[in-house]
Point group: C2
Chain length 208, copies 2
């Protein structure tokens, strides 16, 4: 097959990161933050992530530390959960939790007239141990997290606030910015489950 | 909760599509193609998808027809599989196939010194009935599909060729363009598993 001569996947990733490095601005990120920015660009080919990502001071470095101790990750879509490297997370002792598809979550959401994302965050708030929230889809998930954080009911190790969208999304992300917890935010409209997973993976790959 | 006053998810989607419609160019897409473009922008907030998507003539309309008859969808990542609306696909009688995580696929790939994506496409080529290939990640998957198509070993109903990336990706997508099968392609570097899933969903939502 002709394409046997093409690069191997490992080499492709290395070369891709070199290209991204060449084309992205110098920025004033820490090394850890820079790795997150690069992986977001790698997963989207969208250099806007070199300008729209906000990191609360020390958030990346603390998240890497906490992942090393086996922190769990909560997502608001099965798609983000599918994109996170479970081999690396599992090796560290961590687990992914996504409550969105649970039948009783749907029932509770219908009964209370709220979104499944809100119910999912309430379930996640009851998990034991340190937890990173990776939210790439639902603004209501962020709003509920923000409420619980401000009420002192939840102290997340990190909130990755990167829903994509055109309505309610920017406001929901900006709220997390001022909630007083470590956060990584994609300001503006952009983001998504792929970006949430990419950020988690960028953190996981720095635990080694 | 204050955010009870925020829009419901259904309303958010409707309003988002209106905003996208306002901001995107008029274009000369068919109605079906336009729905695909809009959903790609909806999932990424990236209006580049208004200029980089190529549709072979009639591909969207034929894909909608074939999905109505219960066509299957093959993906090259579990993430894309997770993002496709399985409720709608299942109602039509279709199934999603992703062979990437199968243990024997990994073994065969190692033994033959090729990627798991190539082995996965070979397995998928043996599926019965009409199949849509939704490739959002691996250029080698597209290259193998291209080889099998040109060798007359495979006649896919549609190839969605939207890997994201910086190395080998553009070439792999351009090859599918001239393979003589119905295709939807994200030209250039952009794409991804989220885009592959969004395109499948845009097709599925037009079967009703």
């Amino acid at each position: 097959m002709e394409h046997k001569e093409w690069m191997r996947p490992e080499d492709i990733e290395r070369r891709s990161m070199e290209i991204i490095e060449q084309e992205m601005p110098a920025g004033n990120w820490t090394l850890g933050e820079r790795a997150v920015v690069k992986r977001c660009i790698h997963t989207s080919a969208d250099f806007d992530y070199a300008s729209n990502l906000y990191f609360s001071p020390g958030a990346v470095e603390r998240a890497i530390e906490i992942l090393r101790t086996g922190a769990g990750i909560v997502t608001d879509t099965n798609m983000a959960a599918a994109g996170i490297n479970k081999k690396v997370l599992g090796r560290l002792g961590g687990t992914i939790h996504c409550f969105m598809a649970a039948e009783d979550v749907a029932e509770e959401a219908t009964r209370r007239g709220i979104t499944r994302a809100v119910v999912s965050m309430e379930r996640a708030a009851k998990l034991n141990g340190p937890v990173i929230f990776a939210i790439g889809n639902a603004p209501t998930a962020l709003l509920r997290l923000d409420e619980m954080i401000r009420a002192g009911e939840l102290v997340p190790s990190l909130v990755i606030a990167v829903p994509v969208g055109f309505v309610n999304v920017e406001e929901s992300k900006e709220r997390i910015c001022t909630a007083g917890v470590p956060c990584i935010i994609a300001r503006g409209r952009k983001g998504g489950s792929n970006i949430a997973a990419a950020i988690c993976n960028a953190l996981l790959y720095q635990t080694g």
